[in-house]
Symmetry: C2
Subunit: 464 residues, 2 copies
Amino acid sequence: MSIHREEAILFARSHIEEYISSLKKLVEIPSISTLPENQGDVQRAATELAYQMETLGLQNVQVMPTQRHPVVYGEDLSAGPDKPVVLIYGHYDVQPVDPLELWETPPFEPQVKGDFLVGRGTSDMKGQIAATLAAYHALRSTHGMPVNVKFIVEGEEEIGSPHLRNFVENHRQLLASDISLNPDAGMLAPHLPTIVYALRGLAFFELLVYGPSHDLHSGVFGGVIHNPAQVLCEVIAGLHDKNGTVTLPGFYDRVRPLPDWEKKELARLPLESEVLLEQTGVPALWGEAEFNFAERIGARPTLEVNGLYSGFTGQGSKTIIPSYAMAKISCRLVPDQNPHEVHEQLLHHLKNVMPSTVRWELKYLGGGNPCMTDIRHPANQALAAALETAWGTPPIYKREGGSVPVIGDFKEILGIETVLTGFGLPDDRIHSPNEHLHLPTWKKGIEALIHFFFNLAEQEGLKH
Amino acid sequence: MSIHREEAILFARSHIEEYISSLKKLVEIPSISTLPENQGDVQRAATELAYQMETLGLQNVQVMPTQRHPVVYGEDLSAGPDKPVVLIYGHYDVQPVDPLELWETPPFEPQVKGDFLVGRGTSDMKGQIAATLAAYHALRSTHGMPVNVKFIVEGEEEIGSPHLRNFVENHRQLLASDISLNPDAGMLAPHLPTIVYALRGLAFFELLVYGPSHDLHSGVFGGVIHNPAQVLCEVIAGLHDKNGTVTLPGFYDRVRPLPDWEKKELARLPLESEVLLEQTGVPALWGEAEFNFAERIGARPTLEVNGLYSGFTGQGSKTIIPSYAMAKISCRLVPDQNPHEVHEQLLHHLKNVMPSTVRWELKYLGGGNPCMTDIRHPANQALAAALETAWGTPPIYKREGGSVPVIGDFKEILGIETVLTGFGLPDDRIHSPNEHLHLPTWKKGIEALIHFFFNLAEQEGLKH
């Protein structure tokens, strides 16, 4: 290892407690983007992040407003015009915390418990932002940044980034870069560094079925009224066949078939049923039998019910025919599906199957395209080498089941590919109670990032 | 009309404001039997009712505890051992009020608005209890009760009367009687007095489907996990065919076929689609096409979803695979179905259809047998004559869609039939926001009850 790398690594190690302390300050702010009552907290998180970025040495740091939650920007162009510009993406917003009663420690009072930092957003993804900032600080504080960096950290990822595309379109100059780094993609296990080369897209909906104008007595009217909760169940039931395939007409038309090299690479992933059963607690796994687990999660689209509500749900009973029923539905998409087409498919299907005994409404709540980057791209090669240096083993290439809508927008508007990695683990319980970050893995991640920036500076073919 | 009848009628009319005032006092107490937090209020309502009964002149008035909500008892045996004993049934508990924001006036601040007294329980059924007490008071205050009366007013009807059967079994002597009057059955329209000769039974359940041990990220795990909300929807969807018939194996085995005289009588009911559409606000009616509306509501069993809950139901989105899904399900039953058999049928069916990818649980929350009384029974004849006197038109005979579980218990344990009528109307919005009692109809009902008691005293064949 060169002396510059070694010094940066040692600097990072000796400042690790500061980096954890700053991360905790960010985690403490309940930046829940989906809840209107947390609007002020989201703003505070942006301000805190901007402050930390400035303190670490980034320049031109701005909290830039959008129609809803602001974007935080900062740059360091000290590497000079001959070096690549890396656009580092992140989001400082987090998921809601309910059910609150299942948290063992308060979600916004981050605590170190053993090897973990526990709290909402520690893994998804304030911890990942903190890792990139730590790598930056360590480099800048020793021999300087080997590449140029621009940070773009948004506050709406958990709600589908509704205003980010617009923001990127309006700031092409500011965001002009050669490659993007997205550390939101996680890894498979503490000993298995991962490069994600594809992400699923997303489309989310709310479906409402309206029956009577008010809840009815099920004795007085039962037998002549089509129960909207029953209709909702029947419609949802009709969206999958018994093999787990989505029955929406046209849904799979644009799904790109899996080439052999991908099948081989995906087969390397250690996604075994025992591990999945242990991580999830289900009695048995499920899904399209003709695809293995890695293919089902990474290369196949899904349609999922995220929520159901109708009628009386309290303790005991209330014998009503409910006036309405609601489902939250979201689809994970793969190349080359797109959310607006899926919206049309769902709308068209519902028009065909909904009975005339109810009224109904489908609301499109947001979405993003799926995306894919060549694993032989120079930046992916730089990242692969960095991960191998930090972990002593080459990375696994993976298609990610989750979504980050902005990746496709970066490709389309800025013309740049994205390399995806991250230091979150499958059992970090993101989106659930008791989310945590595995600190030993996170620390290795900081070191891998340091190596990545050095590798990028030495790589050919990156400058636009 | 005899002088005794006339005096009692006039007395009732001149004391009507007192009776309304006492009814309001009872309505003010939020005796919601299903909610544990209202336990104290239910107790208070029992105490208030007992106080009112004593004040009106009833003897041996007691608030008698059960495992949960007490039974209020009172009697007047002044008519003597040669006269029939009428066991008057009622319930002082009420339905929950949610959604509270839809009430135009507070549910427990009863107000007279035009011809209506508005508040939870005014129609179902504190107003009906008040009518029987008013008739009693008017008779007792003029020439005395022509028959003996025993009042049994429970506090658990809205939750399926779980402890009443036991109570009746333990108090056979106290409750020994010749006939029961149940004024909880309502009437078809203000000009159509009604005798209900059959009630549907009831069985209610809670079905829980458990998937992962905690909510999962739908990107990280979507495709390999069987979504419990989806399973719930599929199972519920499978419970009806497209004709509206319940598919539960064995469900209809014990349903007594409809004889011609009943078909003719039910065809007299003015249950037209325009009226139903207006009362309910649905875009179109539904149900088993080979039965008319009155048959579907009165003579056919149903299976209804009363509530659904799973995952995230707040504003916006949360892309999870929920850890569990819940449905509240209840069945209305007709002779000769019984709730325990239906429980077995549902359990058996679920064991056959539930996939091994989830765990599940069916909870039986309560139920009661359906029941039927001969329309030519002397007490029904006495009631028919009384209704004709008060309304100037003979009553319509109806099979009621709703349930009062205790009727079958009275038959089985005390050996008595029940005559069912009532002065609630279909648009009283029972079980919904803005419940109200139509006072002009209610006042006629008091007078009909006065005539009923006189008729009973003159009827042959009632003493056991």
